[in-house]
């Protein structure tokens, strides 16, 4: 029973603390002063840009997210299914700032070998928001 109480508290806190964000909130987060302009075309170029890892193997965003964003992707190493990125089929996408930050950090490091700049993140969000 104690276990369930803990679980309920965690879920409860989760609902309270993760306020729903929308795309505009995310743009604003990456561009608080308003000096940047985000561009979907630039985002698309970055999305499809190929990078090489230390072993010379190709890494692209689509390695895991796939070519069709309305379909599930697949983790490059473990094969774990990744839910579709397109908000049109996956309403949870881009609604939680904490998640967006976490995955940008991890995945930019995986694909590019470094963190993305605010400009790059905003551009990618603009591109992805079309799906």
């Amino acid at each position: 029973m104690k276990k369930y109480v803990g679980l309920i508290v965690v879920i409860g806190l989760g609902c309270v603390s993760y306020a729903q964000a929308n795309m505009d909130d995310l743009y604003k987060y990456y561009n608080p002063q308003g000096e940047l302009t985000f561009d979907a075309e630039r985002g698309k170029t970055l999305w499809y840009k190929k990078h090489l890892d230390k072993k010379g193997k190709e890494r692209v965003c689509t390695t895991c997210h796939g070519e069709d964003l309305s379909k599930p992707g697949k983790h490059a190493k473990t094969g774990k299914v990744i839910d579709p990125l397109a908000a049109s089929v996956n309403k949870e996408r881009f609604t939680e700032l904490k998640k967006v930050k976490k995955w940008f950090k991890r995945n930019c490091k995986w694909v590019l070998g470094r963190e993305c700049t605010a400009q790059e993140k905003g551009d990618i969000l603009k591109y992805l928001s079309q799906f």
């Binding site: 679980l7 190493k77 473990t78 094969g79 991890r106 490091k109 995986w110």
Partner: protein, 203 residues
């Protein structure tokens, strides 16, 4: 020393042997009595069910752990490795290179996860598999891969390569859930094994 002198006497005189047997039986019954007293304290029903529940490895009962870890892989139960192993794996610096992947977490989440793993690690678990894992490790041995645990290696050493590493649908021993169909429930018996492209397994 005591043992030697007893066996010496035993060779000399069969009566002493009988006495020793009586003492041995008495000791055995006392220890058994203790065990049943312990169970009586817990209540018969909980004893009955706990034996059933403690066969495998304790299932994960932490929502945050499940969410964070299963985003990329099977959420390995804490009872697969001792605390020392988890501390090596889930430190902030280790997560930056988590088996070649970046798995960084914010500090609050990382703290929650390492605490959950440490509290429920194999060295503290009463589940059968965890006990076996600990028995197979040397003192203070803390492997960073479950597949490096001697018990795990031994349990899988009869399975031919073509069914695991050379099986496109499995690829590695690391992917428990590919063959252990009840892995998430902490059940790892032979009956619940189904090797993709092959079928059930019994050794």
């Amino acid at each position: 020393m005591t043992f030697l002198s007893i066996s010496h006497n035993f060779n000399q005189d069969g009566v002493i042997m009988k006495k020793i047997s009586v003492v041995f039986i008495l000791m055995l019954s006392v220890s058994l009595g203790n065990v049943s007293a312990l169970h009586a304290e817990e209540g018969f029903a909980s004893w009955l069910f706990s034996v059933e529940r403690k066969k495998g490895v304790e299932p994960v009962a932490d929502a945050m752990y499940n969410e964070e870890c299963s985003a990329c892989h099977f959420p390995y139960q804490p009872g697969w490795l001792p605390e020392g192993s988890w501390r090596k794996l889930i430190s902030a610096s280790a997560l930056e290179d988590h088996f070649g992947e970046n798995a960084e977490l914010d500090e609050q989440t990382q703290q929650h996860i390492i605490t959950f793993l440490a509290v429920n690690s194999a060295d503290k678990s009463h589940y059968k598999r965890s006990k076996k894992i600990m028995a197979s490790l040397k003192q203070d041995q803390a492997p960073t891969r479950i597949t490096q645990v001697p018990y795990i290696i031994k349990k899988h050493d009869e399975i031919p390569e073509k069914l695991i590493t050379k099986n496109e649908k499995v690829k590695s021993l690391s992917y428990c859930e590919k063959c252990h169909t009840k892995a998430e429930k902490g059940v790892f018996d032979d009956d619940s094994v189904f090797i993709p492209g092959h079928g059930s397994w019994s050794d």
